[in-house]
């Protein structure tokens, strides 16, 4: 994920400082890893270096003095370019669940038991996300991010169900490869 483009996107609504951008990032992407303040600060410096943002001035607002940043015209164009650019569908399967199943087959482990345990963990997380999404007053950002996570977990689950059913055949194929 491109933190610089996300910060440019947050700057689109007007000048802001690092702490505020970090706070708004965490609000807009509630299921994502929270943005570290240090990362917000270094990303802003790089945006300035590359001419995509510039320093607007400082703002103290009664507290410590903070540097305010705003997007440049180049920054706005770069944001529009990135936002419309197709994200290439993942060319390689690098998923940990997939790797564990294959390695487990290779090493004579018990992939079926692993898949059952993983399914339980996935279902538990899906229940948590469903509660988050269904809570009265859940905002759009929360619902969208919960939907995103639920659909990806669901895709994992469908693969795990199919794999559990295929396991006998799959084991024979990996054994003879």
């Amino acid at each position: 994920m491109s933190t610089r483009h996300i910060l440019l996107g947050l700057l689109a609504s007007g000048p802001s400082h690092g702490y505020d951008l970090k706070r708004r990032h965490d609000e807009r992407f509630p299921q994502a890893r929270p943005l570290a303040y240090g990362q917000a600060y270094t990303t802003l410096q790089r945006l300035v270096r590359d001419g995509l943002a510039e320093i607007e001035g400082t703002d103290s607002d009664g507290g410590p003095e903070r540097t305010m940043y705003r997007a440049t015209d180049d920054g706005t164009r770069e944001l529009a370019r990135w936002a419309g650019e197709i994200a290439p569908p993942a060319p390689f399967v690098t998923n940990e669940i997939f790797a564990k199943v294959v390695v487990s087959i290779l090493s004579g482990g018990d992939p079926a038991a692993y898949l059952r345990a993983q399914r339980t963990a996935h279902m538990e997380r899906m229940r948590e996300l469903t509660v988050v999404k269904s809570a009265s007053g859940a905002d759009l950002a929360t619902v969208l991010s919960a939907d995103f996570a639920l659909n990806h977990l669901d895709a994992d689950l469908r693969w795990m169900t199919t794999t559990a059913a295929r396991l006998t055949t799959l084991t024979a194929e990996v054994d003879t490869a």
Binding site: H122, M123, T130
Partner: protein, 232 residues
């Protein structure tokens, strides 16, 4: 996320259930417990015995072996009259297609179970209106099933299943014919209303996103329970 008053033992329990359709054994020793007020998902592939399990637990069919206990009563020992009474007053049922009566309005469909139980027409229609309101389809009260969207029809069917105040609702693939947003509306309405009313729900689904609305999940495989998750 189970509720505090669920610790008194199961409200409904099927033990070692066996049921064959001709030569095909649909259930091979499945055991399932449903606690009062709990929402339990029963998942599994097609042909794993999910629907047969619901038919046995709801007293629609008698198992070949094993027992079903509801609130201390063994269903297989009950005379048909008492079984019918249980099904009418204690159990509500919803299927993949709501099976509303096409000639009746949504309101009259929901009022019908109350009228069959002896409630007067005006009172039954008033109660039906309240249940349609709870499921967000009061505005469709005078529409016939053919005029409702799939999601609206399922919400009306849920209102009909809950109008008599059952302690258990059996929902067999209630969102099976719906798109994801309509499915979400139906599930949210069902879970919210069941929790409010303290109704236990036995939810049959092959969809993990639907099963995630439940407190826990039982997976069926080849007519037996493959895993029994215990959640907090």
């Amino acid at each position: 996320m189970s509720m505090g008053h669920n610790t008194a033992g199961p409200l409904l329990a099927g033990r070692a259930l066996v049921k064959a359709h001709g030569r095909t054994e649909a259930l091979r020793g499945a055991s399932v417990e449903l606690r009062a007020g709990e929402i339990l998902a029963v998942t599994g592939a097609s042909g794993s015995g999910k629907s047969t399990l619901v038919h046995c637990l709801s007293g629609i069919v008698r198992p070949d072996a094993g027992s079903v206990t509801y609130a201390g009563e063994r269903l297989e020992e009950l005379p048909e009259k008492r079984l019918s009474e249980l099904r009418r007053t204690e159990f509500g049922v919803v299927f993949q297609f709501g099976q509303l009566i096409p000639e009746l309005t949504a309101l009259d469909n929901v009022a019908l179970p109350l009228m069959l139980a002896g409630t007067g027409r005006a009172e039954a229609r008033a109660a039906a209106g309240e249940w349609l309101e709870r499921f967000g389809v009061r505005g469709q009260a005078e529409s016939r099933p053919g005029e409702l969207s799939g999601g609206q029809a399922q919400r009306a069917a849920l209102a009909r299943a809950l109008v008599t105040g059952p302690r258990v609702v059996f929902a067999d693939e209630p969102t099976g014919a719906l798109d994801s947003l309509a499915s979400e509306q139906v599930m949210s309405a069902l879970v919210h209303t069941a929790r409010e009313a303290g109704t236990a729900v036995l939810l049959i689904t092959h969809d993990a996103q639907v099963a995630a609305y439940a407190d826990r999940e039982v997976q069926l495989r080849d007519g037996a329970v493959a895993s029994l998750e215990v959640t907090a």
